[in-house]
Symmetry: C2
Subunit: 196 residues, 2 copies
């Protein structure tokens, strides 16, 4: 039984609830019944806001992807030597990942079982290619090492950045966003070796 509750949701607040359920149960394992129970409103109230769970998924992964693509339009990502632009993009990726933690977490788990998921994977690949191009340009300008293949380097750098969703929790205790983004930038560009 659904506990009756007045439907005071906006698309944004309903999405918040849905994304949490998707991340807990997996998208495939989530039914409209689960969403209705978590939101405390009836299924038909949910259908008043969206056409179904796939639209909620689309809205959620779009929010993550729009955040990431937005970085590439920012001035520091467009102007100056490629290595500086790349450093800016890496820092901002960590910031967006932390600011949109549940949405990016969901995006990173998408496996491609539905049209929405396949389109999300395609946009993720686009984004990866844009960053790989930046890396390639920085290598051509001599600022990035040439002994690691660009696609492989991009994958490994994304691996480090994306792993933040596995453990970062915005609970006030623990690490701040700035500490994490500084650390990622230092390790991605300088590595562990003592620079002194």
């Amino acid at each position: 039984m659904t506990t009756a509750k007045r439907d005071t949701y906006t698309p944004t607040t309903l999405l918040q609830v849905a994304v949490q359920v998707f991340n807990e149960r997996g998208y495939d394992g989530t039914s409209m019944e689960h969403l209705s129970r978590a939101a405390g409103i009836s299924k038909s109230s949910i259908y008043h806001h969206v056409t179904g769970k796939e639209e909620l998924l689309r809205l959620a992964v779009s929010r993550a992807l729009d955040g990431l693509f937005g970085i590439l339009d920012e001035e520091h990502a467009r102007v100056g030597p490629a290595a500086g632009r790349l450093e800016y993009v890496v820092r901002r990726m960590v910031e967006v990942l932390i600011a949109e933690l549940p949405y990016v977490t969901l995006l990173l788990r998408v496996r491609g079982n539905t049209d929405t998921e396949r389109r999300a994977l395609e946009r993720r690949r686009d984004f990866d290619h844009r960053v790989a191009d930046l890396l390639k340009a920085a290598a051509a300008e001599g600022d990035i090492r040439g002994d690691v293949e660009v696609r492989l380097a991009t994958r490994l750098v994304f691996g480090m950045i994306n792993s933040v969703v596995e453990w970062y929790r915005p609970d006030g205790r623990g690490m701040g966003e700035r500490e994490v983004s500084d650390a990622v930038v230092r390790l991605v560009f300088g590595g562990l070796r003592n620079p002194e």
Copy 2:
């Protein structure tokens, strides 16, 4: 219906099948019926080998963890300056991850819902601490940068290494194991910046 097949499995080959199913369906989503169908033998034949799916999970994650802990007992991980030992451990982690790809993939997805999973998470944490200690020792010896907190650096380095399971496929085409382990060692210690 299970297609009848003579049970010629050994514990090792049955484990191979089970791990593939676990990785495809998720451990929670896998039933004995799924395992029986994938193996082509009856459930009671499977029970002839193991007590149930949790034992298969235990065997699988133990194989991954034994591989990882084995690294720490190797001579190059025990002798010499900490930075050199750390570099050796990072390279060997990538090698073990690739050699035991399905087993490590399963290990990294374990969430702690059963005793077996909780024990696996505990052993993973132990391993993380052993590597963090090595990092701390290398920092004390002045070979590792001091401006990134040790626990955070360990998490980010593990993030890069573990991300290899997301895309590495041993299909003969594409990258070789050596190219990947070289790239990880270069990026973890030297970063992207051109060392020349």
